[in-house]
Symmetry: C2
Subunit: 623 residues, 2 copies
């Protein structure tokens, strides 16, 4: 993969940074955040401004361009990828490493006195604005909102904002109607004494109305905002999608409804002016609830005294705790997904030795098998199909320039998942189709021990996920090894494959306590730059745990794996496992054999079934 | 222990809260924080205002008195103690439990509209002021500084502020001269481009000048502030202590020195006016560095634009990393301390069956044995000598009303430590002088497993202590058990037994990364209200760890126990230990036997030596 040449683009950007046509006063620096106006992680092509200006297209990264410098902050998942994709104009700022400056510190160190730093107020979250603005001000600079996005001014072939048809989800998928979700939301609003709630995150709009879309690849969401009052519901969405009779029926747009459930459909682009009108009409003590990650522009629309900001919205928290219908859907989706992967791995075992399977072919084949399953919609993220050294690029996506052929001599890492109408999957398996080295097995086994330590952990109700992160690393740490990413993320129910407010990470972001019904991934890894990558990932459901005692009647929790795909026993050094860990693997494989075996049988996939049976033979410790 | 009757005191306080003599406008609530003007955890009797008004004398707690209510916030260590010490006028707010409101939320819920909330600006840390003030303002109330402390106005027999003689520490104890510490501090100041540094924490003043005092019980500190400029040193301390020739010589007060090392001695009480003068004389870009935990009063003395606030000061961080002289001193202190405890436990084994040893007698005996050791100064905290149900009161201190007799039927928990001129100790052992029940042994063994998991942990350089906390709980969690306190705290070197910036806790306060030379405690526990308490505590030194691999050349760390006191094997259910854990106990006991055995021998303490040898017999797993 050759880097994008950005010399000309940066020159153009630096010109508009000084052009009175776009900025009231010249700005000495311009920040290009990762997200869109909804602070989405995955974004539509029209919102890929940071990738456009820099070439780096990972899911997380912030670019800052000054008159002299262009710098990119990204995290450990993307160090290699960003270094490959960016040309010499760019400096890579490796977040999480000790000597890497924060964006604010860096700006202060490079800016001339009294500088202006520009940013699109619709893209920057309010909490980031606040932190950045404060740091800059205390160093004598100013953060200024630039209404017109400066990247858009130089992006001549910028694609259109998508506006694709919607899918309606009935109660059998969602378990709760959108009316009942509104009722629950209003009750949370009443508790906090707020009159209005602004829904800005795309997955929150989708979840609230039991609708899905396909405006953003991999994430079944659609561009919309919602403003919920105690007696009104306003949905900001481009209207032509609302002509679909199924959608009109689902939202009861043409029914005679109690006024408080009557949805007013308003154009997407009018959110700011409508919100400003709401803000202007407030009386003292009337509050408007927004996420503190909502954009600075929307947050500013509500006068400060009337804002009620929280890191996580009540929708985000309600959405994270899956109800019985959603949990059952997720189980079904994971069974189908496992069937597809058994087919794939069986196929790879036969084909890889022939030397004809590339990373791209393997990824396509995985998609093919998944698409044969009922209610398949699309992939849930770009398949990471990586062999040998590519496996060490943590969020690698094969492209023709990097495409490597799978062989019996290299480790193969497949991190993939799909959106089914009943659930979202995300699974990583690391395989060897020849004979792994003792060192590869050793590293794999440490990663597996970490995976098991999290999956089998028992912990008190209300424990925050970050308190479990070290369990995943302990076996690696013992040997001086580690991995530079978190251990797990929340997973949506036919929604975003990454969702808050829970997760398992050494980063002590404000994660919400784990509770039964939440779904997270468990995915420790180990990566050697230039040689291989190992990751073992299951999606797991938080469930109550039975314990011998029950301190303070708090109750305990543990995890149940939803992912049921064999973990390659060939890669395991059994003698590095404890008996308890060995039993865990055997019990897990027994369950894979029973549950997935039955489904393979039902689908008449006998060859894949034979592969499954062979891959789930119990391990025995020789000690 | 009967609660303090506070009806009359609260009445008086509510009167002064409205009295124009003390407040410009009546205040509807008055906050009484835990600390003193230096935000000390342990405070002098004259600063025990919260204990005076409420009766609750634990080391942490904040009282808030409104016209109708009196409420006390404290943490899990003190729930039982606070409930015992306070009368019915008080509501106990159990911090850390889900349903307990924050002070701000509670105030907002009880105050009439537009209330004023008063607090002593010298006592409240600036960061707390900021948070509290913001929360109150957004609910329409005001936090106001009340210059005269309102508790002091009703505290007719308030003791005098202590002003005891100073101890000078030479290089053999400190490793670094105060001049070199000033040079290092100024280099940190230059790095951050600040011109002034204000030392507000008592242990930071003591450490910086290599002086110790005894103004506060258990903490060898003295009331002082310091203001360090690039060319000036001002020490705010009551001057009569400066007449001591040894102190004058140590600080070179009468020598001809380069002006930048000339210490100006200024009265303690003039800090505010001197700081206001510094603040008034600043030019743009001239900054003053303070801890964000410095008092609101001192912080406000520096105009906002000139303040540079950090959660931890460079002194706090430098102080935490012990040099070779300090580490050796800590080792010596812990050997002496172990000798004293071997004597004590040997004595208890003989005396307890007679039924004549009370908690107080045992605590006194522990102090007696410690005081026989070289360079003993005082205890490092109030001895927690607790048997049976008293053991469940986490920071219990025996008083005549609660004093219980040790017996062969109950668990005995002793958490104690001392200040020696060469180091500070803090050790907890839990013993049974008869035959423990299977359940007691089971719980003890889970706690021991947690203790070992932390002590033997290997982790990357730069890991924050909070990432190790769950290791201490995992064995307890597996059985549904837990404990409601952190796992470890930093320990000073002949300084405060609790010090920042590192620690091991599930609370994700901003702990600084662990590095070699830091010293923390490792003290998991288990407590059953009304029956018993178990805690196993060692002080441990962070040391480099040898590992098989070395990911990213980061290096690894682990802990070396400085505390070398046998862990009662009678309390261990050996079959709940893994072989690795069993080996850890045996290795630890082997080291106790060698190191402490040699010292007992040297001191001619043969009976205690026999006890040590018997208590350090290796364990064997029967499996």
């Amino acid at each position: 993969m050759s880097p994008k040449i950005t010399t000309e683009l940066l020159k153009q950007l630096r010109q508009v940074m000084k052009s009175p046509k776009y900025v009231q006063e010249p700005v000495q620096a311009y920040i290009v955040p990762s997200g869109d106006a909804h602070q989405s992680e995955y974004i539509a092509p029209c919102d890929c401004r940071r990738a456009f200006i820099s070439g780096f297209d990972g899911s997380a990264g912030t670019a800052i361009i000054t008159e002299q410098h262009a710098a990119m902050w990204t995290d450990g998942r993307y160090f290699l990828q960003a270094a490959h994709q960016m040309d010499n104009n760019w400096t890579l700022m490796k977040m999480g490493l000790k000597d890497t400056p924060t964006q604010e510190d860096w700006l202060v160190s490079v800016l001339p006195e009294g500088s202006k730093v520009g940013v699109d107020p619709f893209i920057i979250p309010a909490d980031q604005w606040k932190r950045m603005s404060k740091a800059l001000r205390s160093a004598g600079h100013d953060l200024v909102p630039i209404k017109e996005n400066l990247i858009d001014t130089i992006w001549t072939d910028c694609p259109q904002r998508p506006c694709k048809p919607l899918i309606t989800l009935d109660l059998s998928y969602t378990g709760v109607s959108w009316r009942d979700k509104i009722v629950a939301l209003r009750s949370k609003m009443a508790e906090r004494k707020v009159l209005w709630f602004v829904v800005t995150a795309l997955d929150e709009v989708a979840w609230l109305f039991n609708l899905r879309g396909s405006d953003v690849e991999y994430n079944p969401v659609f561009f919309a905002y919602a403003v919920i009052g105690m007696n009104t519901i306003r949905l900001f969405i481009d209207g032509d999608r609302m002509t679909n009779p199924a959608v009109r029926e689902h939202l009861q747009l043409d029914s005679t409804l109690e006024p408080e459930f009557k949805i007013q459909v308003v154009p997407y682009g009018s959110i700011l002016s409508e919100l400003q009108a709401v803000g202007a009409g407030l009386s003292p003590k009337e509050k408007v609830w927004l996420s503190d990650k909502a954009s600075y522009a929307l947050t500013e629309a509500i006068p400060k005294a009337y804002r009620y900001l929280t890191p996580y919205t009540p929708i985000c928290i309600a959405k994270a705790v899956k109800n019985a219908s959603e949990t059952e859907g997720m189980r079904r989706a994971h069974i189908k997904d496992a069937v597809a992967l058994c087919e794939l791995f069986n196929w790879l075992e036969k084909e890889v030795p022939k030397g004809t399977v590339t990373e791209i072919i393997a990824a396509d084949k995985a998609e093919e098998f998944r698409s044969q399953q009922k209610d398949f919609v699309e992939l849930s993220f770009a398949t990471i199909s990586s062999t040998g050294p590519n496996g060490a690029i943590i969020h690698y996506k094969p492209v023709p320039e990097t495409n490597r052929t799978l062989s019996v001599n290299e480790i193969y890492l497949l991190d993939s998942g799909a959106q089914y109408k009943d659930g979202t999957t995300d699974v990583t398996r690391t395989m060897h189709f020849g004979t792994p080295s003792a060192y590869e097995k050793e590293c794999f086994t440490y990663v597996l021990k970490g995976h098991i330590a999290v999956s089998a952990a028992i912990f008190p109700n209300g424990t925050k996920g970050h308190l479990l992160d070290s369990f995943a690393r302990s076996a690696l740490w013992d040997c001086g090894l580690d991995y530079l990413h978190g251990t797990g993320h929340g997973v949506g129910s036919f929604l975003n494959v990454h969702e808050g407010p829970c997760g398992i990470s050494y980063k002590t972001f404000a994660d919400e306590p784990l509770e039964a019904g939440m779904i997270v991934s468990d995915e420790p890894g180990y990566y050697e730059d230039g040689s291989f990558g190992i990751r073992i990932e299951n999606v797991v459901l938080v469930i109550p745990a039975e314990t011998k005692y029950n301190f303070k009647n708090r109750g305990s929790l543990t995890f149940e794996p939803l992912t049921l795909v064999p973990i390659q026993t060939k890669m395991i050094d059994v003698n590095l496992l404890t008996q308890k860990e060995c039993n865990w693997v055997n019990d897990y494989h027994q369950k894979c054999r029973e549950v997935i075996g039955a489904e393979l049988e039902r689908q008449g996939r006998h060859e894949a079934l034979r592969w499954l049976v062979q891959e789930t033979e119990p391990l025995t410790r020789v000690q």
